[in-house]
């Protein structure tokens, strides 16, 4: 079973703190949407709202258009992988996985068969009779995923599913979770604060900031055309510079241009000054393995960060030397249109 999920203008206040300030989100059947944001952005609360573990002050949650806002968690048919995995410690792996079927009073034979099928799916075939305490972190994660999917839920919810794993295992599980999610085709909402995780696993990523959903789009869209400065800074590194009108000649600041460091390249001094050309004394050059990182102090544009390919000849670049960089394809620069007050301090570079 898989459903389209709609969260409609949900507001949640905890004490004096408005945690969700009207969030609207839609996920197509089978889609993988990740909520990405800093801690305190409200992403976990939104996940709990979908699971029914958090009451809402206003707004609604709909599964395939059916309002489930007032439905208790046990009647929602959601599968949840908790950050702590929350496996029942005294039950075996198979009993844990079959627990949702046990709760639904399914016959024993069906429970056993489902447990076996799910164990195969998460590649833990020989582990049916083990206790959770004897499993590694990655294995517990798989068991938690198997349990969440065992009763064929309408929506799968993953709360920071990989936070407790070390880096290598995390990357492996990202691929694994994506594979399993594609296989079962269950609509999935995940929460993470890890950009790479969000970009790797999801069809779409929803950026949350201060109780609001700022932008929900495909990873490419978010990176290339961020809706605002927050998103531009949040995903990867960005140079944010003033944009003057459509042709760059207007004296009025009409927006903020997002120039990605890797879209800049070194150009000769005789290259004509163009719209996205920056020049100034080098502040820092550092080799980072796959890239060179270059920082210029480019006059009114402030510090410009530039990421150069590793074969670049940087011999002549040392701090204080005058250098010139440019983005030669204007299509790569995204301008955030300003219909509201300008940035606090323009220009700015944020790592």
């Amino acid at each position: 079973m898989t459903v389209g999920l709609t969260v409609d203008d949900v507001r949640v206040t905890l004490g004096d703190n408005e945690v969700l300030k009207g969030v609207t989100l839609h996920a197509e059947p089978g889609e993988f949407v990740t909520l990405l944001g800093a801690s305190g952005s409200g992403k976990s609360t939104l996940l709990n709202v979908v699971a029914g573990l958090q009451d809402v002050d206003r707004g609604a949650v709909l599964f395939d258009g059916v309002d489930v806002t007032r439905r208790a968690p046990r009647h929602r048919k959601v599968g949840v992988v908790f950050q702590s995995y929350a496996l029942f410690p005294h039950l075996t792996v198979a009993e844990n996985i079959a627990f949702p079927l046990h709760a639904a009073r399914r016959p024993r034979a069906e429970r056993a068969a489902t447990a076996q099928r799910m164990l195969d799916l998460v590649q833990l075939a020989g582990f049916a009779d083990r206790k959770p305490e004897s499993l590694s972190g990655g294995q517990r994660q798989r068991v938690a995923l198997a349990r969440a999917l065992a009763a064929d839920p309408a929506v799968l919810l993953l709360d920071e599913p990989l936070a407790a794993l070390d880096k290598q295992l995390r990357e492996q599980m990202q691929v694994e979770i994506t594979r399993i999610q594609r296989h079962v085709g269950t609509t999935t909402v995940a929460v993470t604060h890890d950009q790479v995780e969000a970009l790797t696993m999801s069809d779409r990523v929803a950026i949350m900031h201060d109780g609001r959903l700022v932008q929900c789009a495909t990873p490419e869209e978010l990176y290339r055309r961020p809706a605002d400065e927050y998103v531009a800074r949040f995903l990867g590194e960005a140079n944010l510079v003033e944009a003057h009108g459509p042709d760059g000649r207007s004296p009025v600041v009409t927006g903020t241009a997002v120039v990605r460091p890797e879209d800049l390249q070194l150009v000769d001094a005789d290259t004509p000054a163009g719209r996205w050309v920056f020049e100034g004394p080098v502040q820092l050059v550092s080799f980072q393995g796959s890239r060179y990182r270059l920082e210029l102090l480019a006059g009114h544009a402030g510090t410009i960060l530039c990421s150069l390919p590793p074969h670049t000849d940087v011999g002549a670049l040392s701090p204080g030397v005058h250098a010139r960089v440019a983005c030669l394809d204007p299509g790569l620069v995204h301008v955030i249109d300003h219909r509201r007050p300008a940035l606090d301090h323009v220009p700015e570079v944020v790592a």
Binding site: A51, S84, A103
Partner: protein
């Protein structure tokens, strides 16, 4: 402080390599002296006296005690009373602790206050309270009579049925306190996991709550059981002569029968039995680890 921790740790688990034990520092010896002296005077000396009396004349008093049908009856009765009181107390105590944990603020305040007041009030006073309640024309009769449910004075005072509620009431705080900490420490994620898996209250209780509390319930139960073995005032006042416990019998030996040696022998047997029960329970359920011995 650090010395003590290291010492305890290395004693508790089988040390993989021999570690030199730090010699007890001077201040530890001084600090321990006072309580040790107190224990020697107030506990060890009387115990030695009891043991000496019961072993005099080649253990004649011990043999008399063990050969007495009244004593053996009292032993079985005491064990049975303690067992029933323990099971009921732990059951009620768990419910009480859960109510404290999940109830609204006013319920919580009321229940905790009840717990503390009952702990602060002497067992004797509480037992007299139950007496006033259970006397043939006592408070219970008054209530039932005014409700039109009883015509004749109640015949519960000094029966077995009259004794259990009071015994459970006396022991309840200990069971509640044993379970209260673990109740509040139940993993919220496990409860949430059970809920989203579709489990109702009963299955959640069986799958999450009970397993999380099992250890605390057992250790609370052992505590209540061991304490119940020494029950004296409550069965004596409320249960009447037909519910004579070992403690009651010892009292009778000392004060009525004037057989001090036999009383001493029975006391030694009761203490040995109690310590034995505790050691067995500790071996089975590792109770002492829960009560602070880490």
């Amino acid at each position: 402080m650090t010395d003590q921790l290291t010492l305890r740790r290395s004693a508790a688990r089988p040390a993989p390599r021999a570690r030199p034990r730090p010699a007890p520092s001077a201040e530890r010896v001084v600090l321990l002296a006072a309580p040790l002296l107190f224990l020697a005077l107030m506990l060890a000396a009387p115990l030695a006296e009891l043991l000496g009396r019961s072993l005099a004349d080649g253990g004649a008093a011990l043999r008399t005690a063990l050969g007495s049908a009244v004593f053996l009856d009292a032993v079985w009765r005491t064990l049975w009373l303690a067992l029933v009181a323990t099971l009921v107390t732990v059951g009620l105590g768990t419910v009480y602790a859960l109510a404290v944990a999940v109830g609204p603020a006013w319920v919580r305040a009321f229940l905790v206050a009840g717990l503390l007041v009952s702990l602060w009030t002497s067992v004797m006073v509480r037992t007299f309270g139950w007496m006033l309640l259970e006397l043939p024309t006592g408070a219970l009769y008054w209530l039932l009579h005014n409700l039109g449910l009883a015509d004749a004075p109640l015949q519960v005072f000094q029966t077995t049925a009259a004794m259990y509620p009071a015994m459970v009431a006396v022991m309840l705080p200990f069971a509640v306190l044993a379970v209260l900490g673990p109740v509040t420490a139940i993993d919220r994620d496990l409860l949430a996991a059970a809920a989203v898996s579709g489990a109702g209250p009963l299955l959640t209780f069986r799958t999450v709550v009970l397993p999380s509390l099992r250890g605390a319930m057992i250790s609370g139960g052992v505590l209540v059981f061991v304490m119940s073995l020494g029950f004296y005032v409550t069965p004596l006042l409320l249960g009447g002569p037909s519910n004579l416990t070992v403690s009651g019998l010892i009292n009778a030996q000392l004060r009525t029968a004037n057989r001090i040696d036999v009383g001493a022998a029975m006391s030694v047997l009761l203490i040995a039995g109690t310590v034995g029960a505790y050691l067995i329970a500790d071996r089975l359920f590792r109770v002492s680890e829960r009560w602070g011995g880490r």
